[in-house]
Subunit: 75 residues, 2 copies
Amino acid sequence: MPLNPIEIITLKDFGENIRRIRLEKQWTMEYLANQANVELSQIYRIEKGKINPKLTTIVILCKALEVNPDQIISI
Amino acid sequence: MPLNPIEIITLKDFGENIRRIRLEKQWTMEYLANQANVELSQIYRIEKGKINPKLTTIVILCKALEVNPDQIISI
DNA sequence: CTTAAATTAAGCATGTATGCCTAAAAGAAT
DNA sequence: ATTCTTTTAGGCATACATGCTTAATTTAAG
């Protein structure tokens, strides 16, 4: 079951939001990866919208970036 | 890599929030499943905190229940 | 220009989300 | 008790998230 266009946009927006907030903090992907205890390769895939992260991954990224889910999830 | 206790609580809280909002609307699991176009078995697993849903699943549930992510994701 | 840092990219192994199916158990209503 | 609805539960197959690794490419700094 491939992702439909709306789902692809969801992932793309999510990634762009993560990247924007990370850059506002002037963090490198590697620094965010360390803060969130997530692999650098995973940060890259998320920011590029290549993957569909799980709830717990979303939560630990929110915590590391000090944002609420509403600030990174586009409904 | 098994889930740690904090992640388990995240999933449990998420499921409880989904169920609470569903019941407030007096919807059955099957009705929510149809509205969100998600399998009934999946609704059950999510409400029980048995699984770690993906971002797109979270988004379609938010849309079906007409809530924002902050209302169902506990940080 | 040269070097170091940061990002991009791909591959593999493992675990798990999801859809689909079946069926049992619990609840609700008569 | 019987019937109908709803929830709970498990299994299987497929797809994909994630960690780990390596390496190429781009960007920044000197």
